[in-house]
Assembly symmetry: C2
Homo-oligomer: 455 residues x 2
């Protein structure tokens, strides 16, 4: 082992308390990107990240405007002949509702045993800080053995609407050999994981309306189509009895799972029991003909993310509500196109919606799925670093989540991403009581340090 690597690893171990303090600091910002109310917190977080990158000796640090929330850019290119790595991250977080289910304040990072609880602790301020801490350990003990660029965006949780144009406009600036994207997680604390496939996303809001005001359910009940009823009929019909999605043409461009891949996925330690443990559901569910692992990574979905209509307070209110709304997202696999799915859903509604109601479909955004080559040198370097730290080789998996930026890097610059991360399946991503497991997080920093030296 090089002296510098050893010094960097020692530095990281000695500064765990400082690293934790830094994480707590960035987690104190309520950088929720879904609504306008948090713009100031978004701006503060971007500035905080920029100052931190400057402190690490990064150059050309800039908080760069986009059409929406700013991107933090930084670079250090002092390692001629070495590869250049573009580190991707996002500093924005999901909303925190339902707030009453949080056991601690979402923006006051709270230590309980080995876990740190806060919105963004795992997704993904924790992962961004693991990268920054690894850089700090290396730069405080010598020179980086690799060239590095940073792209830390603020719109990931809303589907990165401003990023495609921004990347397009900054292609030259972003040139690199590969992208390190630590926005994917691990399959368990003893299972370091490299993700080679990601699902895409298409996101919708469907509103059904009928009467122009809420009606007395006694006076009009039985004579008009209840919009909540019409909505549930339309939603229920979007899957058949085998839990296949019924949007016309939905599976036409779905790339089938090969027998090889199915055999490989069968080895992952995430069977039905794992899912039951992680979620508390009484039984697993899904498309007939596929295992849970196959369904989670290799098959598309259609989910209701939220639904509202009429009176939902205490007691009863005997109305026929005038409208009903559902938020829907489809997770996509290669080679589905988000815009195609929008057309398929419109066709479904055109064909199925009755004349007794009106409907409106809004598309929020989307991104394509992606699949990467796992034999590239940077993948091998990460694989080795993980094996050293955990004493076991990483698992290779297809991830059910969506990281639209991976598709953007691919299509705009032909750049492949190596996807990893140190979050765990029970980190409560996008849910109350999000947390990160600190011993795993420290291992992540060590892994990244070793990775930099292995490139």
């Amino acid at each position: 082992m090089s002296q510098h690597l050893q010094a960097a690893l020692d530095y990281a171990r000695q500064h765990e308390a400082d690293f934790l303090a830094g994480l707590q600091e960035i987690l104190s910002f309520g950088s929720i990107s879904t609504s306008e109310e948090h713009l100031e917190e978004i701006e503060k977080t971007a500035q905080w990240v920029a100052r931190r990158l400057e402190r690490l000796g990064m150059e050309n640090v800039a908080v760069m405007p986009t059409g929406g929330h700013p991107v933090v850019y930084a670079e250090w290119l002092g390692a001629p002949g070495k590869p250049t790595m573009l580190v991707y991250g996002h500093y924005d977080v999901q909303p925190v509702d339902p707030l009453d289910l949080w056991q601690t304040e979402p923006f006051t990072a709270t230590l309980k045993g080995e876990n740190l609880y806060a919105r963004g602790a795992s997704d993904m301020k924790g992962q961004v800080m693991a990268c920054l801490n690894a850089i700090e350990a290396v730069t405080q003990t010598g020179k980086l053995p690799v060239n590095v660029k940073f792209l830390i965006e603020g719109e990931e949780e809303i589907g990165s609407p401003s990023l495609p144009a921004w990347i397009e406009a900054n292609k030259q600036l972003l040139q690199a050999d590969f992208c390190l994207n630590p926005d994917a997680g691990m399959l368990g604390k003893d299972h370091p994981t490299i993700t080679y496939g990601l699902r895409g996303l298409a996101s919708f809001e469907l509103t059904v309306s009928g009467p122009d005001h809420d009606l007395h359910s006694g006076v009009f009940g039985g004579t008009v189509h209840n919009p909540a009823k019409a909505l549930v009929e339309l939603l229920a019909g979007m899957h058949d009895e085998n839990n296949h999605i019924t949007l016309p043409g939905y599976y036409d461009s779905v790339r089938p799972l090969s027998d090889d891949e199915r055999a490989h996925l069968a080895k992952l330690p995430v069977g039905d029991n794992f899912i039951k443990q992680q979620t508390g559901v009484p039984e697993v569910w899904g498309e007939t003909g596929y295992t849970s692992v196959e369904r989670a990574g290799g098959r598309p979905t259609l989910e209701i993310n939220g639904m509202i209509s009429g009176f939902t307070g205490t007691g009863q209110k005997t109305i026929i509500p005038s409208s009903a709304m559902a938020k829907i997202t489809c997770r996509l696999v290669p080679d589905q196109e988000p815009e195609q799915v929008y057309e398929q859903m419109k066709r479904y509604l055109d064909e199925k919606a009755p004349k007794t109601i009106r409907w409106d479909l809004k598309m929020y955004g989307g991104g394509r799925a992606s699949i990467s080559d796992i034999h590239k040198p940077w993948v091998t370097a990460l694989e080795k670093a993980m094996e050293t730290v955990w004493g076991t080789p990483p698992l290779f998996k297809r991830e059910g989540g969506s990281v639209p930026v991976v598709g953007m890097m691919q299509s705009a610059m032909g750049m492949e991403s190596v996807l990893t991360g140190f979050g765990l399946p029970d980190d409560n991503l996008h849910a109350p009581n999000e947390k990160t497991h600190l011993p795993t997080w420290y291992k992540g920093t060590e892994t990244l340090i070793r990775f930099f030296f292995g490139l």
Copy 2:
């Protein structure tokens, strides 16, 4: 015409402004009965009604406690040999949400043209005040030609949970020849109406739950049954393709409409176009094999009154919600029993709910439907009064709404109710911008005065 009747009618005409001011006063109380927050307003309203009854010369006026909100009782029994009429009313009102759809403050009665806008203007503070004003006109110009008792409750909009026990305990006090219940409406401003049938009600809350927290729809999408999805499947299945309700045994005790009655109902001026005009729906809807009028009054329903699950704010949140809830009410016809319907819904859920989710069904309350004999003398008296005031005989209809107290009076005391009222179909009952049409309301007062003298 008797001199006294003429004097009472003159008094009513001369005091229209005072009557309006009184109505505006009672409408200023936010006596919403569905939630605990409005207890003080409930109490204030009951006291206001009691003071008003005292001012009219009523005796033994009392705000009487029940298990829930108080009942206002009053009587005047100074007309020996004359019938005794029990006037039923309720001083509570529906909630006001969605508040942003109101064009005026719901508890600041606002005059616009011939209409007065406020929550309760039509349902039913307006009707209660029409009775009190009629009594005032008669007592200020002489002695009442009829004995009268008042029962004004505060829980009608939550299904009158405390009333059955209270009536049971006060049977002696409430003895009367018939009940005048002005909580039913008219079919149009030129169509005075007497309602001889009412639907009953059974009210439920159905919750479906799955994962013990909201899940990331990428990580777990395709492997667990989305509770919102499971709920919409269960709700959608509660009607078949003919819009028949599928709860097992639901129609077993439904009394069929006779051919005579169907012929009679066919004469009511409330066809499909009327419903489209009143509601703004593009097409009417309902059970195959019945007309709109038949469906509204003579057939049972199952309606979703409200629904909530997951994220419903601005933007998207890619979760699988941990639970989903729907509020459901069934409108019942003779001879359905609310508790039977509860058992039928439980059986439906037992049979249909998949093992992938958990469900919970709560029953809020209910009441039986009722049908009355339209040849009783008090019905004839009201019929004559209406014909005199409007110049046209009243229509006889079955009402789609539910007035549980009518069933209670029947079962506890064998007392029949004469149902009428001076609200119009476009009064926005239970909805934003509730209003009452003042010229019709004044005619209502005149009708009641003539009715008292005709008994």
